[in-house]
Symmetry: C2
Subunit: 354 residues, 2 copies
């Protein structure tokens, strides 16, 4: 086993002392990088890029060659599980992901089986193994999955949606059916993340992109509950180290306190709340990850540095903070601005760690 040279991320997620605040960026392997666009061009289409371990590995490592990041995150799509369930995932230019066979009826959901990660999701597990080997202990590798509720929204709607008509229709009128679907998804995600951990993922993150469109009552019943179920089934130690788990509900700042009861180690934050307020809400229970407004990367380098300083000051002294954006980086961002951000986090945070 190769020694991990930079374990700041894992330590900060467990609120253990660090020298500087670790930083990584959601969608750090992405369209804002010309080298990513070149690999994607070579792959031909997005799904081939996701499904070819060598290419997924290549793009995962690209941002690490440019920036002093403290983590790699598996390059993949959140819809790999529904794809493996046979819903027929495809991508249309400008429209985003879509499914040939959306779920609308009891029979659709009865037919779903839990994907074997060594079969239809083998390409993900292989990518994780390959990335771990290529990283050679430089930084830890984060694995991830969409949350059950978020996966369900795409599966029931048949793609991206603005109005959530069908998925909420099912939730309101056939809650029993929705729970069946979410339970199958929670089981699938658990097995999927455990396979990523077994293959070498050193931390895992659940992306709950659409939990924030629910009422408090519905969020607790249809989203958070299934994230808790997943966490209860996760491998929590591997290779002699704890595998931290991060959960992130976009627009979920109202529920931070409830989220700390799931057994996760850290909460991802969007940019709504200042970190000192978020820290008060979660107490000493979990670490926090975030929370720069992604639009700040459009601003000047000086403005970026000021904002980084403000966010670090808001969190204050001590460990338990992983710097990140509050959502994925936009494709139009200048990579030079990312370098400014990453360096500012390391430079300015030293004063908060002793």
């Amino acid at each position: 086993m190769i020694e991990l040279k930079n374990d700041r991320l894992l330590r900060a997620l467990l609120r253990q002392p660090v020298d500087v605040t670790p930083v990584w960026i959601m969608r750090q392997a992405g369209r804002y990088l010309p080298e990513y666009r070149a690999t994607r061009e070579r792959a031909g289409d997005f799904l081939t890029l996701c499904k070819t371990p060598e290419l997924a590995c290549e793009v995962t490592l690209q941002p690490l060659a440019r920036f002093d990041l403290d983590a790699a995150i598996l390059f993949s799509d959140i819809l790999t599980i529904p794809d493996a369930m046979g819903l027929g995932l495809y991508f249309t230019e400008g429209e985003g992901p879509a499914f040939q066979y959306p779920l609308r009826h009891q029979t659709d959901i009865d037919k779903l089986s839990i994907p074997d990660p060594t079969d239809k999701l083998r390409y993900v597990v292989d990518a994780v193994s390959l990335i771990r080997r290529e990283l050679a202990g430089k930084v830890p590798l984060i694995g991830f999955s969409g949350s059950p509720w978020t996966l369900a929204t795409y599966m029931v709607e048949g793609g991206a949606t603005k109005n959530f008509r069908y998925v909420k229709g099912m939730m309101f009128d056939q809650p029993h059916l929705m729970h069946q679907l979410l339970d199958k998804l929670a089981q699938s995600v658990t097995i999927y993340l455990n396979a990523q951990i077994a293959a070498g993922a050193q931390a895992v993150m659940l992306f709950d992109t659409w939990g924030g469109i629910l009422t408090t009552r519905d969020y607790l019943e249809f989203s958070l509950r299934y994230m808790q179920q997943i966490i209860a089934g996760l491998t929590r130690e591997h290779e002699g180290r704890r595998v931290p788990c991060i959960i992130f509900t976009k627009d979920g700042s109202e529920w931070l306190s409830e989220m700390t009861h799931t057994g996760c180690d850290a909460l991802g934050l969007d940019w709504k709340l200042p970190l000192n307020v978020a820290r008060q809400r979660v107490g000493e229970k979990v670490a926090l990850q975030g929370n720069l407004d992604p639009c700040l990367l459009y601003a000047s380098p000086d403005r970026i540095r000021t904002e980084v300083a403000d966010i670090l000051a808001s969190f204050g002294h001590g460990s338990g903070h992983v710097f990140n954006l509050g959502h994925g980086i936009h494709p139009q961002i200048d990579p030079e601005h990312v370098a400014v951000l990453v360096n500012a986090v390391h430079d300015f945070s030293r004063a908060y760690h002793v």
Copy 2:
């Protein structure tokens, strides 16, 4: 002056006793109604519908003929002010509103002048007068405007946006310029709403559709501050009655307490928080308006009734609640479901008022 036969809305907004909880629906005059689609067809295009007082009056009154609603709301667009400022508003099918001349530079903003409501916005004032006359005291008429921040997002982006690149770029890198723009907009909105009040609007509402995409710090500085400036300049009494003012920031539940300090009478709520929690946060300072998830209208009549009962129970006894959706009604909703909602609010709420 014709006597107002149903003043539940005005009384509830001022937390005065009522017999039943009043109800109206955001975008109640809209595409879900076949009679609206017929008038819109006759008008030819959306802007003609907005700019022809007789047609605006016709669609404003349509939902009142169908449902036992407790208020009418002026049919208009939130972008009338930027249009009157000369930005060249147009609508494209499926893409929403856009401006021919978006604001990007100091010179663009220097050139803006505050529209005279008796000139370029005359069609709005005329529509208000006409609607008041046609209502003949049946229910009160609500006037409205977009908030300065929300108007600015469209004006700087040049239309609807998903990433808010230019408007946030200006806010972060040229805050002085953004403040100039917002101040001009706040002055314009104040004059515009006062003209609506003079013409007969009996309550007014500020729609802050995009305040919720800001950090807490930026919301207070760039959105809420200018709503407060407007409220300070509003005519607060007309025709011998107080003119209540409602402010609504979508995704703004974190800031309810700060919003109560603006001098408004009521807060519009999205569906994130249960009403009892929202009520605790605002104390006895303001009334609350909301907050059914608009997707609930896709559900069965029985499910709609259950949810109405739950929301009324969550608010509990006493006045200070206006029932509404947490956002505009979707175009696909069955009008019969709206009737179920409106009747359920009146039937079930009687028990909470003595």
